[in-house]
């Protein structure tokens, strides 16, 4: 349940009490259980505050862009520092007052972030400083990062997450030192830890920050994987797609297995973007690996990737996450994450010459089939599961196998139709089954 659900429930309680549906004691219990954190801003407040700060900030940048040629340098430098000073005084007052409305903190955080950027921009304009915009972005995001911790500003945190991802994507050019490359991304991401203190964290991140953080982590870590897998033959840079594809899959497995506390595990999958996006990649990767030529290509990449320190680091992190997931009995995500590790199991059985070996293709096909069947069977034995996802995995597998089979077009067409019909029938069966289960289970009695 998100805060809007809690608010709705709290609004209904007085009416339910009046109607005699709830005893005063039950109403008290519900109010305590579904209390809304008043410090959390409503979406409207946040949007209005952020919009105001954005308009002022972008206005400042536009004023700077005009380039006030007629004023001496000292006056132009005042233009740079006065808005920064103003925003700092505003943020200081917000901090000094302590418990201020969340939207005020957000506005202060965003305004100071933009004023910092505007200040650096005008100084570099006045002195005709060279350099690429990512250098500018790098210093801007670092100087704005502490605002996310100190003002608890979601806007400053989101700005930082977007900025580190954009910076990392830009730094993938071959030959950069590690501190100027996307390999710095994990350290930059760790910089946000004070925004989310404690382990396990005491407060849950909002869904919007989770999504931005996940997308940022995907872009940043995948940029690093791309960077480390580049080859250079002195004059030309080559992309090593078979290497970074596997590194991306390991990254997805790390995301899927990211450790969660009990409350986090109990949340719906939609509130765990790292699981949603990581699983989507891993299923796509696994279905592609069922094709023997793709499987061979990936195996070749794995042989090169395991020599890279970045890959070894990913494997160590993954091993730690696997242990934690086993301790917490997160079998479903473990099954999905294991798809990324299949090439490692295939390696000992792979001949020296990788030409047309079907080992990985078979391994992934069997593993995917096992996952699909397990997801369906678990639901039938009354355990929590995702039977429709299971059916989807099996259907995708059958379609993939048909695509590279030697059956005639007619046979393939008939099989596709059969799979489609079976999928629809299964969907219908599951809907009926769930309706029956709901009608046979008595409604929970209210205390």
């Amino acid at each position: 349940m998100n805060s809007s659900h809690h608010r709705w429930l709290l609004e209904q309680i007085p009416q339910w009490e009046t109607d005699g549906l709830l005893t005063p004691e039950a109403a008290r219990t519900l109010r305590a259980r579904h209390a809304v954190d008043g410090s959390q801003p409503s979406a409207g407040q946040l949007i209005m505050g952020a919009l105001g700060a954005l308009l002022i900030g972008t206005g400042l940048i536009a004023v700077i862009g005009y380039n006030w040629d007629d004023f001496p340098r000292s006056v132009r430098l005042l233009f740079a520092f006065l808005p920064l000073l103003g925003s700092q005084v505003f943020s200081f007052r917000v901090l000094q007052q302590g418990e201020t409305a969340a939207w005020v903190r957000e506005t202060a955080g965003l305004l100071q972030t933009l004023a910092t950027g505007a200040c650096i921009a005008i100084v570099s304009q006045i002195y005709n400083l060279g350099g690429e915009w990512p250098d500018f972005l790098f210093w801007w995001m670092l100087l704005s990062l502490p605002l996310a911790w100190l003002l608890r500003s979601k806007a400053a945190a989101i700005f930082y997450l977007i900025a580190i991802a954009v910076w990392s994507i830009h730094q993938t050019e071959h030959g950069r030192p590690w501190q100027d490359s996307p390999q710095l991304y994990p350290l930059l991401l760790l910089g946000l830890l004070p925004y989310w203190p404690g382990w396990p964290p005491k407060t849950a991140l909002s869904v919007s920050v989770r999504w931005v953080m996940t997308v940022s982590a995907i872009l940043g870590l995948c940029s690093a994987a791309f960077f480390v897998s580049m080859r250079n033959d002195r004059y030309y840079d080559f992309m090593n797609d078979e290497v970074f594809t596997w590194l991306w899959s390991l990254t997805a497995a790390v995301l899927v297995l990211f450790p969660l506390n009990t409350a986090g595990m109990a949340e719906s999958t939609g509130r765990k973007p790292q699981v949603v996006l990581g699983s989507l990649w891993l299923f796509g990767y696994a279905v592609a690996a069922t094709f023997s030529d793709v499987g061979d290509h990936l195996l070749g990449g794995v042989l090169q990737a395991v020599k890279l320190p970045w890959c070894q680091g990913l494997l160590v992190v993954l091993a730690v996450f696997v242990v934690l997931a086993v301790m917490r009995r997160r079998w479903a995500v473990l099954a999905i994450a294991s798809l990324a590790l299949l090439p490692l199991f295939a390696l000992p059985f792979t001949p020296e010459k990788l030409e047309s070996t079907t080992i990985l293709s078979w391994l992934v096909t069997l593993h995917l089939a096992a996952i699909g069947l397990t997801l369906i069977v678990l639901d039938f034995v009354g355990r929590p599961s995702a039977p429709r996802l299971g059916a989807l995995v099996l259907s995708a597998l059958i379609i993939a196998r048909m695509a590279d089979s030697h059956f005639s077009l007619l046979a393939k067409g008939l099989i596709f139709i059969a799979v489609g019909v079976a999928f629809l029938a299964f969907n219908l069966l599951m809907s009926r089954r769930h309706r029956q289960l709901q009608s046979s289970t008595p409604a929970p009695a209210l205390p």
Binding site: N67, I122, Q125, P146, L150, P177
Partner: protein, 187 residues
């Protein structure tokens, strides 16, 4: 009221001032104490979304000869000695991996190294000259009219301890900004 967040905030605020102030200090020092050098260059007119209109300044000399005993790789910094020619324009003569003594020099970044002819492509520490957006259209026209002149556009750069700061652009010894202002007011 907690004190620690306020102390931390004070440090952040100081850092937000310190970063641009450091830039100002080093650049002001170069502009006031640095040696003036003149480089022949080209200057097309692109746009920066954050900092407005500028001329992309590109000195004509973009390669240096690498001494045979020097092991140079792409991305490495080099120190190039600046030598004025008979026309008062400056060229890069020798390069070294350490700052040379007793001469005017500039710190450059190596972009590529060409082994076959012992040359290296270099990256200048400045690449843009910001202009007022009112003057920008005139700058476009001026640039198109003057780019093929023999004398060409000259970048006036101040150099101190290897750091270079672009001060002005000029044509036949006259400031680019002054030329543009005269052209705009004459219309």
């Amino acid at each position: 009221m907690k004190t620690l967040p306020l102390i931390l905030f004070g440090m952040v605020a100081l850092a937000q001032w310190a970063a641009p102030l450091m830039q100002i200090w080093t650049h002001e020092r170069t502009l006031t104490q640095g040696t003036l050098i003149k480089l022949k260059c080209t200057a097309p007119d692109p746009y920066d979304p954050l900092r407005g209109r500028y001329l992309a300044v590109s000195p004509v000399q973009r390669e240096v000869t690498v001494p045979k005993d020097m092991k140079l790789e792409a991305g490495m910094p080099v120190y190039a000695t600046l030598t004025p020619d008979a026309n008062g324009l400056t060229t890069l003569s020798t390069v070294s991996l350490t700052p040379p003594a007793g001469v005017t020099y500039v710190r450059l970044k190596t972009r590529y190294v060409y082994d076959y002819d012992s040359k290296a492509a270099i990256e200048w520490p400045f690449d843009r000259y910001y202009i007022n957006e009112k003057l920008a259209p005139e700058a476009d026209k001026w640039f198109a009219e003057n780019i093929r002149l023999k004398d060409g556009i000259v970048a006036e750069v101040r150099v101190l301890n290897g750091r270079a700061v672009l001060e002005d652009l000029s044509l036949n010894g006259k400031s680019f900004r002054e030329i543009l202002k005269e052209r705009v007011s004459a219309k």
